[in-house]
Amino acid sequence: MTEDFAAKMARVITEYSTRVQPGDFVVIAGSVVAEPLLDALYRAVLRRGGHPHPLLAPANTREIFFQEANEEQLTFINPVGRMVYETADVRIDIEAPVNPNNLGAIDPARIGQHRAAHSEVIQTMIGRIGDGSLRWCGLSWPSQAAAMQMGIGYQAYREFLYRACNFHLADPVAHWQGVKEEQTRLVELLNGKSEVQVRGPGIDLSFSLAGRTWVHASGELNFPDGEIFTGPVEDSVNGTVAFNMRSIYEGQEVRGVRLTYQDGRIVEASAEKGEAFLLAQLDIDEGARRMGEFAIGTNYGIDQVTGFIGLDEKIGGTIHMAIGASLPDTGGLNQSAVHWDMVHDMRDGGEIIIDGEAVYREGKFLIS
C-alpha cells in the first residue's frame, strides 16, 4: 500500500516544496535508515536537471563526536558544512531517527557550545532562506525508532505517515498546491482583523492581533505540514487554557498543563505530570511567560497523536500555542530561549471568534 512512498515523496519535495531547477546545487542530508528515500530524491533531482549531493549521516558519529571532541574540535567549523550553507540552492533534511536517545547521555553544555560556535553558519542559512536564495525543506521519513516512540510497529507507522503526507490521494502535488492556495486565501481573509476569542471545553482566551500577520505553512519548509500561525500582541493575552493533549518538550513528557494569562503574562501554571519541568521552563527568562505563537493545525490526514510535536501541531481540528519566542514573519516581538508548542483539540465544541465573527467551530473553518 505504501510501496510508492519514496517516489511520491521525492516528486512532491522536488516539484512542489523546493521546486528544483536545472543547474541547482541540491544537498540531500539523511541517516542510513533513509536510504530508499535518498535514492529516490537523488534520481528526481537528476531528472529535473539539478546537481544532487547526498550527505549520509552514520548512526553513531554525532554521539562519538560529542564524547571525544576536545574544546578546539568542539567549536571547529567544518568548511565543507559551511560551504553547503553558503552555496547550496536547495537543502533537503530528512528526519528519520535511528535512536532518539543517542545524545541523551551527553552534557547539554557541550552541545550548546558546539551550537554557539555555529551561530554564524546558522545565521547564514536563515538569511538565505529569508531572501529566497536557499530553498530548505525538513521532512519526516518513517523509521523503526519513530514507530517505537509512538508505540507501534513499523508498517503501521509508515501507513500513518503516508496518510499524513496525503499520498493516499491520486495527485499529491495537486493536493499540496490546493492546500497552499486555500491557506493563502485564509490568511488574506484573517490578516487585518484583530480581536480574537478562543472558547470551548478547557479554553477561554482572548488576545489582540493588531499589526500582526498570519503566515501559512503548506509543505514548503516542513513536510508533512498544515497550519496557519501568527504572534499575538505580547501584553494582550488574557484567560485560561487547560490543554487536553500531552506535550513533549526537550524529551520531557508533560500532561494536563493549565495556564492562566493576565495582560500577556502567565500568572498561574500547573500540570498533572511534569509540573516541576513546566515551571522551570517558564522561569528560564521573562519571555518564556508570554505567548509567542498562536496557530491552527489544518492537516486532516493526521488522525493519531504521535508524541512528535512537528506532526501533532498539524493535526486538523487542533490549535497550538507556544510559550516563549515568537516567529519572525508574524511581526511578533517576544524573545526567549524557549519555544514550546502545546496542542489543544478543538473538535469537541471549540470555537474561534475574530472581530465578533465565528471563523472556526468544532475543528473546521467557517470561512474560506
Binding site: E63, Q67, N101, Q144, A147, G153, Y154, Q155
Partner: protein
C-alpha cells in the same frame, strides 16, 4: 570499541553455555540485525567440528505475516520446522529487537491461533529437551531498538550488555565457571530447607519451598545470566509486595505493582500505571494468580533497569517473582499461559530468612565465605 564482542561472546556460548560436540546439528536463529553475532557463532560452531545452520528471521516479514495471513496460513506449519525440531541437537536463539512495540497492534486472537497450530511442535521440542536431546541458549545482542527501550544510546547500551555478559573480564569463560561454582554453593546450602521469609522496604512475604529444587541459572540457558530460582509450594505464599522496579510484559510497561497473597493466591492487586492490564493477566487462567517462581538475581554487572526482563531479573541485589506458570524442573505443579516476572530491589534493607537463619541481607548473600570476603 568492543570489536571483540561477537567473537568473545561466541566463544563463551560454544565452550561454556552449550559446549558443542563434533557432528552436532546446531541451529542459529537470528534476526538480520544480529548478523555480526550470528556469523561469529557460525564460525565458532564450525571450528568445533559441528554443523551450523543459520536461520534468519526478518522482523518486517513476521509483522506482515501476522497482519495479512489468513487463518489457514496462520495454522500452516512448514515441514522444515518439523524436520528441524526432530533433528537438531542445539538451538541458539539471538534476541535482537528492531522495534520493541512491533507486536502491540497484533490481534491477540491471531497470536493464539498461530500458537495453537504449533502446539505439537512445542510438545515435541519439550519432550526432546527433557530427554536431554536438545540443548539451547537464548542470548542478547545490542541493537538501536533495545537501546531506545532502555533510554540509552547504542554505544552506551553496547557497553552495558558487554559488561552484563562479563566480557570485560580477562578470561570470561573462567569468570562464568567461577560464577557457576559460587551459585552451586548457595544451592547446596539451600537444599532441603523449607521456609523462606522475605522482608524489607515494600516486601513482607513468607512461603514454603519444601520438597522443591533450587536451580542454578549461570549462563547455560540464558546469556547474560545470573540468578538462582525455585517454584514455591503453590498454596504456601502469604504477605504483600510492592515492587519498586517497573515491569515490562507483553510490550507494555507497568509501574507500582502491589500484590497481596493469601494461601498462595493473589487476593488483592493494584498498579500505579497499567492496572487494567495487570488485572487482565491475573484473571487469564486458573494458574495466573499463583506464584510460579521465586528467584534471586546475582549479576552485579547489571546495575541498570532496561525494560528487558532478560537483563532486569538478573540485576545483582534484586529478587524477582513470577505470577503464573511454575518450573517443572523445580517441582512445580502450577500451569498457566502467563509467566510474568516482577523485580524488587533488596539493597536498601531487604533480607531473606530461611528456616530462621538470615541468609541474605542488603542484596548480598551472608552464607558463603567466598562471596562475603
Amino acid at each position: 570499541m568492543y570489536e571483540d564482542f561477537a567473537p568473545r561472546l561466541a566463544r563463551i556460548l560454544t565452550e561454556y553455555s552449550v559446549p558443542i560436540r563434533e557432528g552436532e546439528l546446531v541451529i542459529i536463529e537470528a534476526p538480520l540485525v544480529a548478523e555480526p553475532l550470528a556469523v561469529a557463532l557460525y564460525e565458532a560452531v564450525l571450528r568445533c567440528g559441528a554443523h551450523p545452520v543459520i536461520r534468519t528471521n526478518f522482523d518486517l516479514a513476521s509483522n506482515i505475516f501476522m497482519k495479512y495471513a489468513t487463518d489457514a496460513q496462520l495454522e500452516y506449519v512448514t515441514p522444515m520446522n518439523e524436520v528441524m525440531i526432530d533433528q537438531m541437537d542445539v538451538r541458539y536463539y539471538i534476541k535482537a529487537a528492531t522495534n520493541t512495540k512491533a507486536a502491540t497492534n497484533v490481534d491477540p486472537a491471531r497470536i493464539t491461533t498461530f500458537q495453537k497450530a504449533r502446539k505439537h511442535i512445542i510438545e515435541r521440542y519439550k519432550e526432546r529437551e527433557n530427554a536431554g536431546e536438545i540443548r539451547w541458549n537464548i542470548c542478547a545482542w545490542p541493537t538501536q531498538a533495545a537501546a531506545q527501550e532502555a533510554e540509552m544510546s547504542l554505544l552506551d547500551y553496547t557497553e552495558f550488555v558487554y559488561k552484563a555478559c562479563g566480557l570485560d573480564h580477562e578470561d570470561p569463560v573462567a569468570y562464568w565457571q567461577e560464577f557457576k561454582e559460587r551459585q552451586e554453593r548457595y544451592i547446596g546450602w539451600l537444599a532441603g530447607k523449607e521456609t523462606v521469609e522475605v522482608r524489607g522496604p515494600g516486601i513482607d512475604l513468607s512461603m514454603s519451598v519444601k520438597g522443591r529444587t533450587w536451580i542454578n541459572a549461570c549462563g547455560d540457558a540464558n546469556f547474560p545470566d545470573g540468578e538462582i530460582f525455585t517454584s514455591p509450594v503453590e498454596d504456601s505464599v502469604n504477605g504483600t509486595v510492592e515492587f519498586n522496579y517497573p515491569t515490562n510484559y507483553g510490550g507494555r510497561r507497568i509501574e507500582g505493582v502491589r500484590l497481596v497473597y493469601r494461601d498462595g493466591k493473589v487476593v488483592e492487586a493494584s498498579a500505579a500505571k497499567g492496572e487494567d492490564y495487570l488485572l487482565s493477566q491475573l484473571d487469564f487462567d486458573e494458574g495466573s494468580r499463583i506464584l510460579g517462581e521465586f528467584a534471586i538475581g546475582t549479576n552485579w554487572g547489571i546495575q541498570q533497569f532496561t525494560g528487558d526482563t532478560l537483563f532486569d531479573e538478573k540485576i545483582g541485589g534484586t529478587v524477582h517473582m513470577a505470577v503464573g506458570r511454575g518450573f517443572h524442573e523445580a517441582g512445580s505443579q502450577n500451569m498457566s499461559a502467563v509467566h510474568w516476572d516482577m523485580v524488587h530491589g533488596m539493597t536498601e534493607g531487604g533480607e531473606i530468612i530461611v528456616d530462621g537463619e538470615t541468609m541474605y541481607k542488603n542484596g548480598k548473600f551472608l552464607i558463603d565465605e567466598e562471596t562475603t570476603k
